[in-house]
């Protein structure tokens, strides 16, 4: 049988298992008695063994077999897990990782495994033929029951006291602004008239705007359906609500599983009974039970799918524009357009979602790295990871690994002091290194924060001068933040000794370049003696984004909303001169002004005829704000980002193009570096 067709899959899955193993083992080190973890590790090792044996990779199979033996004894409490054993197990994982890489490279295993096998066999004197594993965990169901017992009892007790139970499906209009707030208002008003048992997505996710335009709520109230409807639809921007009451009949038939499996079952059952589409039913079940059948898809196929959706979106916009222009009032035509709009929208979101993967994928490998690195450098570091579930476009995630590795290494190597120094400075010996991800509107913010020594602008400028990165002349014009940002310049390295850890020939300039190539930006917060935060903000997806359309000298340009902090109309009198720079005052802050036509080298300002009023787009780039004066603000819309191609790749201040509803091309302004 030809196994080569399975090789790719084998390699992918092996990597996943190794990641799981690494992660679980780390956790196990802190919670040695967690049986769940031991089971997880055991299962992963076992699966790996089976796969390797099937593919004929004997060394991997032997190694995992020995690993399994050790784990089995720990599981059966015949052996106590010690740091020594954990270290051996880690060594074992490293070797497996090496073997996988070799197979990926040359198709064969080249590293020996006997040394590690010997270590595994000698972990202690007890050696009995380990039992073969036959573990089948039902952990998923168990977790579900745990988390929902409160909710169950809430429902049961309320139903006894004249409350009704409803499943509400609330939809917001799609041009809704600050939909998190709308979602919050819906829930707040509902809470005033009843009990919100749970929502999908969760209440927190709704407040964090992690939903499209719809969310579902399991609700207990004494009010009628009509009353609920008016409570919810009274709120601006609520498009509609579907209310399904869960009656006694629904419940009695389902009492058994209802009690056993928690509220999800009820919700799912009701969904089936109601006229909800099968799709949303499936969605609900999947989200709740976390048993998601998956298919591996080539990323190229997703790319081309995304392109097709983009085409569709453009053509839909064109159609709408034509219908507006021709004043088509035909009802059927309007219906079709609306349908098309809905379908396109759903399609776009689905495709985008398909491309989204949790950032966990890359975060997972860091605990191990941090553990090893801090051991090596004799530093004590607690790594805290937040928001690993945050989702990002796959293509962005793939490029993000290396920059984050670099920042973490940098933090441990340079940022964090050794334990004695920390003690002397009155800090805890254990440094806190925090890696977090969160969605903020249309952006993802990733932060690497340490509580180490902080960055010293003086030292940085000294070094920058030495290395010829800047001149003394440059220096006089720089703010502290700009000085700090010098560490991102090519040819700059803060370390006296080029260490093996973060030195590896690449500097922070590469980190910055990578982030910017992803259409994101990076900035630093730092306080001497207190610590440093590297902030990376990234777009959710590279293909479609929200933008503000503006006119500059008769041409339409798009500015991604992710860099916009607001739009202001100011009068010519509000423009002041400060040190030769035009500025205006916004909420007590001086904001420098940039004329867009000058930025773009366009000579004919058409702004003269209406100098009374100036339209200013406030661009925020990390810490700085700049007001970009444009001829006119048009509107805000979703745009499909297209490349200008190689021929025009280096055009300053233009990052791409998009196609407008009328088929014309609008350029996308790259304004991140005008500040």
């Amino acid at each position: 049988m030809d196994m080569s067709q399975y090789l790719r899959m084998f390699l992918d899955e092996s990597e996943e298992y190794l990641q799981t193993l690494n992660q679980s083992l780390l956790e196990l080190e802190h919670n040695p008695s967690d049986e769940q973890l031991i089971n997880n590790i055991f299962r992963a090792a076992h699966s790996l063994k089976g796969m390797a044996a099937t593919m004929g990779f004997d060394r991997m199979a032997n190694l995992t077999h020995e690993m399994e033996n050790v784990l089995d004894r720990i599981r059966a409490k015949k052996m106590v897990l010690t740091t020594g054993i954990v270290d051996i197990l880690f060594k074992c994982l490293d070797r497996l990782d090496k073997l996988v890489k070799e197979i990926s490279h040359s198709g064969a295993e080249t590293s020996e495994v006997d040394d590690i096998i010997e270590l595994l066999q000698n972990v202690d004197s007890i050696k009995d033929g380990a039992a073969s594993p036959t573990v089948k965990s039902t952990s998923v169901e168990v977790d579900l029951m745990d988390t929902n017992s409160d909710e169950q009892s809430t429902i049961i007790s309320h139903l006894k006291t004249d409350y009704y139970c409803y499943v509400l499906d609330v939809e917001l209009v799609k041009d809704c602004l600050l939909k998190a707030v709308r979602g919050f208002m819906v829930i707040k008003n509902l809470k005033e008239a009843g009990v919100v048992v749970k929502s999908i997505p969760s209440l927190k996710e709704i407040e964090d705007e992690k939903f499209d335009y719809e969310f579902k709520i399991l609700y207990l109230t004494k009010e009628s359906e009509k009353e609920i409807e008016s409570i919810v639809t009274d709120i601006t921007d609520v498009k509609g609500i579907q209310i399904v009451r869960i009656t006694e009949d629904n419940l009695t038939g389902e009492t058994g599983p209802y009690i056993e499996n928690g509220i999800q079952e009820v919700a799912a059952a009701v969904e089936v009974a109601s006229e909800e589409s099968e799709e949303s039913n499936a969605q609900l079940t999947q989200q709740d039970l976390k048993i998601t059948p998956t298919v591996r898809v080539d990323i190229d196929k997703l790319d081309s799918l995304m392109n097709l959706v983009a085409e569709l979106l453009i053509n839909k916009t064109r159609l709408e524009e034509i219908s507006n222009r021709m004043n088509v009032s035909n009802e059927l035509f309007g219906d079709i357009l609306q349908q098309l709009d809905r379908v396109t929208m759903n399609l776009q979101h689905t495709v985008m979602q398909v491309r989204m993967v949790p950032i966990e994928r890359i975060f997972n490998r860091f605990p191990r790295m941090v553990r090893d690195l801090s051991k090596e450098l004799n530093k004590k570091v607690n790594l805290i990871i937040d928001g690993a579930e945050t989702e990002l476009d796959r293509s962005i995630i793939d490029s993000l690994g290396d920059p984050l590795v670099h920042l973490l290494r940098n933090a441990i190597d340079h940022g964090i002091e050794d334990p004695e120094t920390r003690k002397k400075a009155g800090k805890s010996e254990f440094a806190e290194l925090r890696l977090s991800a969160a969605q903020k509107g249309n952006e993802i913010l990733i932060q690497v924060t340490d509580d180490g020594r902080g960055l010293d602008a003086k030292k940085i400028t000294k070094k920058a001068l030495e290395r010829g990165v800047i001149t003394r002349d440059d220096l006089t014009k720089m703010s502290d933040h700009e000085k700090i940002m010098l560490i991102f310049r090519p040819g700059f390295s803060t370390s006296e000794v080029i260490s093996d850890i973060s030195g590896r020939g690449v500097g922070l300039d590469v980190v910055r370049k990578t982030v910017e190539s992803l259409d994101g930006h990076i900035y630093i917060d730092t306080e001497l003696g207190k610590g440093t935060t590297f902030n990376i903000s990234l777009p959710l997806t590279l293909a479609i984004t929200q933008a503000l359309l503006v006119k500059v000298c008769d041409e339409t340009y798009a500015i991604p909303l992710s860099v916009i902090e607001g739009a202001e109309d100011i009068t010519a009198e509000q423009v002041q001169m400060v040190q030769g720079q035009e500025v205006f005052v916004l909420r007590g802050h001086l904001i420098p002004l940039v004329w867009s036509h000058k930025l773009l080298g366009l000579s004919i300002p058409d702004l003269n005829d209406n100098t009374e009023q100036l339209s200013v787009v406030v661009i925020g780039t990390g810490k700085k704000q700049v007001g970009l004066i444009v001829s006119e603000l048009i509107n805000q819309q979703d745009i499909v980002i297209k490349s200008l191609g190689e021929f025009l790749i280096d055009v300053p201040h233009i990052s791409g193009a998009t196609i407008l509803g009328d088929g014309e091309v609008a350029l996308i302004l790259d304004v991140r570096n005008i500040a």
């Binding site: 200008l644 021929f647 025009l648 055009v651 014309e664």
Partner: protein, 159 residues
């Protein structure tokens, strides 16, 4: 080797177009489509001979004003103005020309090496001159003209 293949296919089809009074040709195999003039979105800060970009079925395609590329006055848009899209290294580029005349077969042996200047254009941008009866058709070396590496302001100064 090269001679062999030339002899095996001893004539090629060319799209013949006009700039000022001169006739130029590009191999038909390189051309994608010929479009009527459509609104071009100018690209600020781009090389001066790049007229801008256009949308062709969802693709953003840069348009080069050949007149400006050759250091002539920029084109006046007229009824006969066309944009010829050509493929260079998998990359589509539009050529703005005054007029597209016809498609012609030109015998390989009717193509002469370019003189040092033809139609006011430096030799390096030409791949030869095709002779048909008493017409002279200047055959362009698209790679050279639109070479991505020399497509900068610097490379454009050919006067």
């Amino acid at each position: 080797m090269k001679d062999k293949s030339v002899q095996a296919v001893n004539r090629h089809q060319y799209v013949v177009f006009q700039i000022d009074k001169e006739e130029f040709g590009v191999e038909i195999l390189r051309t994608q489509e010929i479009h009527r003039y459509t609104k071009i979105t100018r690209v600020p800060n781009a090389p001066h001979y790049v007229k801008g970009v256009i949308n062709i079925r969802g693709e953003i395609i840069p348009v080069v004003d050949l007149r400006q590329r050759f250091g002539l006055e920029s084109s006046n848009i007229q009824e006969s103005t066309r944009i010829i899209t050509v493929l260079i290294k998998d990359y589509q580029i539009g050529l703005l020309v005054d007029n597209v005349n016809e498609v012609l077969w030109i015998e390989t042996n009717a193509i002469e090496l370019a003189p040092s200047v033809a139609g006011g254009i430096e030799k390096e941008y030409l791949s030869g001159v095709g002779k048909i009866e008493n017409r002279l058709i200047v055959l362009l070396n698209l790679e050279k003209i639109l070479n991505l590496e020399i497509a900068t302001n610097e490379g454009a100064q050919i006067n």
